[in-house]
Symmetry: C2
DNA sequence: GTAGTATATGAGTGAATACGTATATACTTG
DNA sequence: CAAGTATATACGTATTCACTCATATACTAC
């Protein structure tokens, strides 16, 4: 049960699609901004520095992938992380990156 | 140390790139085939059902991303998983997929 | 040297998609 | 009803990339 199973073609595409959703810096920025809790679109636009149209599109992508969930409140829509594995995934990748980057150093911004 | 850090632009692109490498069904198939241990290119071609040229390209991509490592032995080149976080990543995603797929069922291959 | 096998790469093509600009929808207020 | 605000979408463009076919490289054996 704990070890990775052999997946059929359809499952492989679903897994690949899942990774693809996380394969955009702007979407990672959105996810990062939502680690602290839910936020509305305007807040996310400001937090990420993107255009409203682009942020909205990325949010739809994340909703379709069930990474985020939304809650309407009057005119505003609040987004939040709905998949608990997302933070774990990011932790894993960031952790392994730290290891390989501390050798070369300078990739994270201490001073830049 | 354990919680996800805020990443700068360059780090975000590296993380995104990492996910992008895992966002292709054929590469996932290769990784899956290597869970049991190292394998040469011909073996991987047979295991995945891809063309030799295409498999070789994907292998170069995985090598460049430090997901795999290679070992030459005469004419043959043996590939293996070199990043221990890869199996964990796949486990995480597959686990969360199982949950959402067991409702629809049939995506995993019980036999084979 | 030549022939043969295993792996890598160059060139071309089609599909997917991130982004910007403009516009549409949804809701609130007067 | 009209006006204003928050969010979503349509369209066009540029880029990225997976794939195929053909060829190149690397090594072994004769």
């Amino acid at each position: 049960m704990a070890r990775p199973l052999p997946l059929n073609d359809q499952a492989l595409e679903i897994v690949a699609r899942r990774f693809a959703v996380l394969a955009e810096p702007m979407r990672l920025r959105l996810i990062q901004a939502l680690f602290d809790g839910e936020m509305n679109v305007t807040g996310l636009v400001e937090a990420t520095g993107g255009t409203q149209a682009n942020i909205s599109r990325h949010l739809q992508t994340l909703i379709a992938a069930h990474v985020l969930a939304r809650r309407k409140e009057g005119l505003q829509v609040f987004y939040r992380i709905s998949d608990p594995t997302i933070p774990k995934l990011c932790e894993l990748v960031c952790g392994s990156l730290e290891k390989s980057l501390t050798r070369q150093a300078g990739h994270f911004s201490p001073g830049r």
